[in-house]
């Protein structure tokens, strides 16, 4: 994991001092509401429906056990005992008081954490594959590059007042797990024909009101040009992105309006000016950043030891959890485990202070003291010994963290929705819960197989509904909450945006609607065909017919 040096610590201390002073001036009436707004947003503080909400950055999802314990402390001392993992690998607290935020920031700084640029019209937390560094299909670990981008984007003086928020994701694996193509900038590690590893860079992707898949801007740039390439894109966007209408201010609208080719020309012109400037990354810097993400001290172990295979044979609960939640690791004898935070009756992504402390203890005991947050709002233990998996699984039971539903229908992505968020048109958490209750039979979930269902409470699409195989969007219809259902979205390599099935539904109709969609899939699928593949093959109509069929 990245370790701060004196420079990083100094900048963080400077920032807290600055924000404390700004908060004091605001509370003393010397700074107006509108002038304080972007300052607090760039320190992670929203003012929500019920209370302020503080979003803490988890750079590219990495958390140490010490950080988990600090988050548990913050949840219990400054909040109501829980936090919420977000779809951008961050964690947010829903109940801090505005005047206490500088104190929370001081606590976070003790463990090299902060809330910098987690909201506002600036470059947000860079995200990546939650399996970075351990995935079997990875070209190279993305985290050193994420850290380079984190530093370049943190307190960038030119890009703190962009037209709108700006999100960057990096992917290093064959199978894209980072929803890379729906980010303002999406970066793929890639190898050119000479075997050199560099970056393929897309821009102009995004969800929200106008969902768009990113367009290729740089087919291949060598590593040393990473920052100059990014800075060129940001500069063109800062100058030319629309500022007259916040709904048309994202980079995707600029790229669409002037065309990819014209946008690319402008970026290239800018890039020619700066590509060989001091932004040129040095080998030393790449090596330095890589040095923080070296392999831990793996022992040499064999795959599938008998201590594991015996348990798998004899314990059906353990074995179904293993099938769903445990994935192959690049090192033999190790496994990647995902803890699914989608317990029925609990808001997806919610985590209690007790669970955070327990995760810390398990991380120390089983996974070299580190975990990762995934954009699906789950927690990953990247380095668990296969011969310890059973003990690890037992260790999850006490805090109800052993749900075996990873990747299944009930492992939904869901935003906080109208229960918490001031922007939402409709509630989303009760929708998630009603679907989980409808589909409470585990064998049925296994039979339905791999599928993702994403729920957003409004057009801003924090729940990524556009890229859900099934997407649900809360809409406001004359003051009443309704839900629009879409099918066919995907955030994987063949990224696609879901299509709306038809007229929207009342809240109580949703479980039955999902039931009908699933039954259409089951009757049409071929052998092991996944939901998304059946949809691609047969299209919308069979689903539509089933959902809107009149009762006899």
């Amino acid at each position: 994991m990245y370790q701060y040096d004196n420079y990083d610590h100094q900048m963080l201390a400077d920032r807290i001092r600055q924000y404390q002073n700004q908060t004091e001036r605001f509370l003393a009436g010397k700074l107006s509401e509108s002038e304080f707004l972007p300052l607090r947003l760039q320190n992670g503080l929203y003012v929500q429906r019920l209370a302020p909400m503080l979003r803490v950055a988890v750079p590219y999802g990495m958390l140490s056990s010490a950080q988990l314990r600090k988050l548990a402390f913050i949840a219990s001392h400054f909040d109501k005992g829980y936090g919420h993992f977000t779809t951008r690998q961050n964690i947010q607290f829903n109940w801090p008081s505005l005047s206490e935020v500088p104190d929370i920031l001081k606590h976070l700084a003790e463990v090299e954490m902060h809330a910098i640029q987690t909201s506002g019209n600036c470059i947000r937390n860079t995200t990546t594959d939650q399996f970075a560094g351990v995935a079997v299909d990875e070209l190279e670990d993305t985290r050193p590059y994420c850290e380079i981008i984190r530093q370049w984007s943190t307190f960038h003086p030119e890009f703190a007042y962009l037209p709108r928020k700006f999100k960057i994701a990096v992917c290093g694996t064959k199978v894209d797990q980072a929803a890379t193509q729906v980010h303002d900038i999406g970066i793929y590690l890639t190898q050119n024909s000479e075997g050199l590893i560099g970056f393929r860079i897309l821009a102009g992707g995004g969800l929200g009101r106008t969902p768009v898949i990113g367009k290729e801007i740089f087919p291949f740039v060598e590593k040393q040009y990473l920052l100059s390439a990014l800075e060129s894109i940001l500069r063109v966007y800062n100058r030319e992105g629309r500022r007259d209408n916040k709904y048309k201010a994202r980079i995707k609208i600029l790229v669409k309006e002037i065309g990819v080719e014209e946008f690319q020309n402008k970026v290239m012109q800018e890039w020619e000016l700066i590509k060989n400037s001091a932004l040129l990354l040095t080998d030393d810097e790449i090596t330095r950043c890589k040095s923080f993400f070296t392999d831990p001290n793996y022992e040499s172990l064999a795959d599938t030891p008998t201590s594991l295979s015996d348990r798998l044979q004899n314990n059906i609960l353990f074995s179904s959890w293993h099938t769903q939640n445990v994935k192959p690791h690049k090192i033999s004898g190790y496994a990647i485990v995902t803890i699914c935070f989608k317990e029925t009756g609990v808001a997806p992504g919610d985590v209690t202070d007790r669970q955070l402390n327990h995760l810390a203890q398990l991380a120390d005991e089983y996974s070299f003291g580190e975990v990762r947050v995934s954009h699906q709002q789950n927690i990953v233990f990247a380095d668990v010994r296969q011969d310890k998996l059973y003990d690890f699984w037992l260790g999850l039971q006490s805090e109800s963290m052993s749900s075996p539903n990873l990747g299944l229908l009930t492992d939904m992505i869901c935003c906080p929705g109208g229960d918490f968020c001031a922007l939402a048109n409709a509630k989303s958490i009760p929708i998630a819960e009603s679907i989980q209750r409808e589909f409470n039979d585990f064998d049925n979930l296994i039979d339905i197989g791999e599928i993702n269902l994403n729920i957003s409470g409004c057009m801003n699409a924090c729940g990524h509904h556009h890229v859900g195989n099934i997407g649900i969007l809360g809409v406001d219809k004359k003051g009443e909450e309704f839900y629009q259902v879409s099918l066919g979205g995907s955030s994987k390599n063949q990224a696609s945006l879901g299509k709306i099935i038809g007229p929207s539904f009342a809240q109580e109709e949703i479980p039955e609607v999902i039931q009908k969609i699933i039954s259409a899939y089951k009757s049409q699928r071929k052998s092991n065909e996944k939901f998304i593949d059946t949809y691609i093959r047969i299209g919308m109509d069979p689903f539509k017919e089933q959902v809107y069929a009149k009762a006899d």
Partner: protein
């Protein structure tokens, strides 16, 4: 007297900013002044400006483009960049472009909605003068340049990024 901070000190301001709608008749009416004129004014009234017996410099609005300026910019003792709202970040890129791409060495002045909490970033991008909004506390503004000890990026104020200094 309007408030101006230049090179880290509070100083008197001898320049008057002309608004976009102003016509050339103002030059005859008020001789011997120091006028900051909008880019369009400078382009449209070259003759009148040449005849003027005071000093002339230009200001760019946030949507104006530095790339539209020719090399006569180097004759100006200062160029002002407007912030129509403090949240409009375009003038940061314009300041940087003037310094880095165009090697402009004169004063670059922030005008408009110029507030204490943006001064540090402005300075990093190449501004060295700040006509802060009327209600800002100048003494407090002077402390803003110390908000951060250092930064990660290659900026106008610190052209060597931290990764080359570590």
């Amino acid at each position: 007297m309007p408030k101006l901070i230049k090179d880290g000190e509070a100083v008197s301001d001898y320049w008057t900013v002309l608004k976009e709608a102003t016509g050339p008749e103002v030059l005859k009416a008020v001789p011997g002044k120091n006028f900051l004129v909008p880019l369009s004014f400078w382009k449209n009234y070259q003759e009148e400006l040449n005849d003027y017996n005071g000093n002339i410099a230009i200001w760019l609005d946030s949507h104006d483009r530095v790339s539209d300026l020719d090399d006569s910019i180097h004759d100006f003792p200062l160029i002002a960049l407007n912030f129509p709202a403090f949240s409009d970040g375009r003038s940061y890129s314009n300041a940087r472009e003037l310094r880095t791409t165009r090697n402009y060495l004169g004063e670059i002045r922030a005008i408009g909605d110029v507030l204490r909490d943006q001064l540090y970033y402005m300075q990093q991008c190449g501004f060295n003068a700040f006509a802060v909004r009327y209600d800002q506390d100048v003494d407090d503004c002077l402390t803003a340049f110390g908000d951060f000890t250092t930064g990660y990026q290659a900026t106008v104020a610190e052209p060597t990024p931290l990764f080359r200094r570590r």
